[in-house]
């Protein structure tokens, strides 16, 4: 495999603080808090899954929070965002309602998908989240169509497709790149390149570790960004999204990152994979998107250790209460299985 990512794929690099001087304190705090909420929510899910309280699989993206947070900062609620199996962050970055996520993961009627979806089928269209599904490339073409519709409807809304480095190995993704380009669809292809598809390292799956080569092949303007730098992610996506709202057609952003947990549930997956060691995980944890933002904010007096501790303390309490509430919520009625197959009026 060609290591086109070079330092971006080296976990010993990019441990530095991110550059924050050009952003408002308000925006920095919002992004920091959003990342912490997502991290803590997923840690709660990991523990609960380990304790056997969650019946189905949870694909956790802890470590990858900067991507969804950096992108979503430039989105509006009428945009059309689609995810896949690892989409808790994509949803929470648009709507930090972890109670509804807990309820959904527990299969409760109060959840985002009324308890019909669980972790892998999430819905919050009023906030722009059209849906996520576990067929990893399953929604990419849907996002292109929703973006094409945005143009037909005369809006400046955009589509967003979150795509993993594994999903680009499914053919429909390439059809979608091509279709979006020839029809000038306002869609942002967000490639979360965490170097792994389930247990398999990208070096065993592709001839290059740089997914952006497919943007070049389809004449789609692209950016390659440190995905654990929320400010760089925000900056890059903001420019692309501004262009798209003005009619530029599709854009492509590749963000290099790493997940703290294994493919599914709470384990490290160092024993089932290739090229994934505890040493690697520790190094990647040092390239932590939260720490790399919080540290310079504290150094520059925009944020304090006390504020952070207090925020986390309140958040922990909120998460604990939300979890208990979700645990006590009702399941869907038995007839839901048949009632949701078709639209009610039809």
């Amino acid at each position: 495999m060609k290591n086109h990512l070079q330092d971006l794929s080296d976990p010993k690099k990019f441990h530095n603080s991110v550059s924050i001087d050009h952003l408002s304190t308000e925006r920095l705090k919002a992004m920091l808090k959003s990342m912490i909420i997502i991290r803590k929510t997923e840690q709660q899910l990991a523990l609960a899954r380990k304790d056997g309280l969650i019946g189905g699989p949870v694909h956790l993206g802890a470590g990858q929070e900067a991507i969804a947070v950096g992108i979503s900062e430039s989105l509006q609620s009428s945009d059309r965002v689609f995810g896949a199996h690892r989409s808790h962050s994509h949803l929470l970055a648009l709507n930090p309602d972890f109670y509804k996520l807990f309820a959904e993961v527990l299969g409760k009627v109060t959840g985002f998908s009324k308890g019909m979806g669980g972790s892998m089928h999430l819905y919050d269209q009023p906030n722009g989240f059209y849906g996520s599904v576990p067929i990893v490339a399953g929604t990419v073409s849907l996002a292109v169509g929703a973006a094409m519709a945005a143009r037909m409807q005369g809006t400046n809304d955009i589509g967003v497709a979150y795509i993993g480095d594994g999903a680009v190995e499914e053919g429909v993704v390439h059809e979608s790149f091509n279709l979006a380009k020839v029809h000038n669809a306002p869609i942002l292809f967000v490639i979360e390149n965490n170097l792994f598809a389930s247990h398999m390292h990208i070096s065993l799956r592709q001839p290059s570790d740089m997914i952006s080569r497919f943007a070049i092949a389809n004449e789609i303007p692209h950016k390659l960004v440190d995905g654990n730098d929320v400010v760089a992610t925000f900056d890059a996506a903001k420019d692309q999204i501004t262009e798209m709202r003005e009619g530029s057609g599709p854009r492509f952003i590749e963000l290099v990152t790493y997940r703290h947990y294994g493919h599914v549930d709470w384990r490290d997956d160092v024993d089932v994979g290739v090229d994934r060691s505890l040493d690697d995980i520790e190094n990647w944890k040092a390239r932590d998107p939260i720490l790399r933002l919080s540290r310079p904010m504290i150094e520059k007096g925009l944020w304090t250790v006390e504020e952070e501790l207090s925020f986390i303390k309140d958040l922990d309490k909120g998460i604990s209460e939300a979890w208990d509430m979700a645990m006590n919520d009702p399941y869907p009625e038995i007839d839901a299985t048949l009632n949701y197959v078709y639209a009610p009026s039809s």
Binding site: R80, S141, A143, E175, A336, S346
Partner: protein, 327 residues
Amino acid sequence: MKKHNYGTAILSGFEYLLENYPEVFVIGQGLWSPWYVGNSMTDLDKKFGVERIIDTPVSESACTGAAVGASLAGMKPIVVHPRMDFMIYAMDSVVNQAAKWSHMLGGQSHPGVTIRSIINRGGEQGAQHSQALHAWFAHVPGLRVVMPTTVADARDLLIASVLCPDPVMYIDDRWLYEQEDDLPPVIELNLSDQRPRVTQSGSDITIVGSGHASLLSRNAAIILKNDKISAEVIDVRVLNPFHVDEIISSVKKTKNILVVDSGTLTAGFSAEIIAKVVERLPVDCLNNRPMRIALPDAPAPTSRVLEKDYYLYAEDVINAAKKVLQR
């Protein structure tokens, strides 16, 4: 002289939808040069513009998915697959996404997409240009499956499919295009109210089919009259969700059933019809064993001699009906 044939009836359905519903658009291969689809889409691009009649790259999967996604954003798209065989590339968008979207997300979002796929066989086109896969799609909960047989249904079920909030697989058959009939003014039908329909009344045997098989059955029934056999023909029209009451009422009257299907036999829709009817009939209701005829369990052959032997004709329906009745 009749004003319409099956193909122009489909065309008039498209025109009605595009004229009356700005959220309708059409996407698929060959739409700016629609010679693949007979006379069913002629000049739509010129009349309604290339922004609404969208010709595409050779990407069955992405184009179908794009239509599903556009429907989630409030549009009423129609995807056109001039040959059903190519649509197999789009199975994920149809089966995993469109059909399950409402259910897996708690009934909060409905992909009101129509997928028009065409059975286009004969003419020595062979195994990959000839399939009738309606039974596959009828097996998928959440996907409505429509097979119009008559000229009026070709138009009206297209309109009903597009106006339905659920995903619909609308399957037409090139072997139906030559039928001629008058078209009454459009009445917008609610697809969920559409049921199997008796297209010819009779008292000796019930013959059930959909699409081209239904036309064959009707033609056979006319000839059977000469042999003093009164056949009642039922056109299924909507395969999923499948309503069976009309068929059961008919069989209770005729006490005989023959099912004709334009797909292959094993695990075909003919099996579903017989099973649903027989399991609901009183024991001893039937005078004779139920029977079904369908294509052999083999891919469509190419050579004209084999092809001629492979497909069903009215004569096969006539012989089968006589066999059921032991005449």
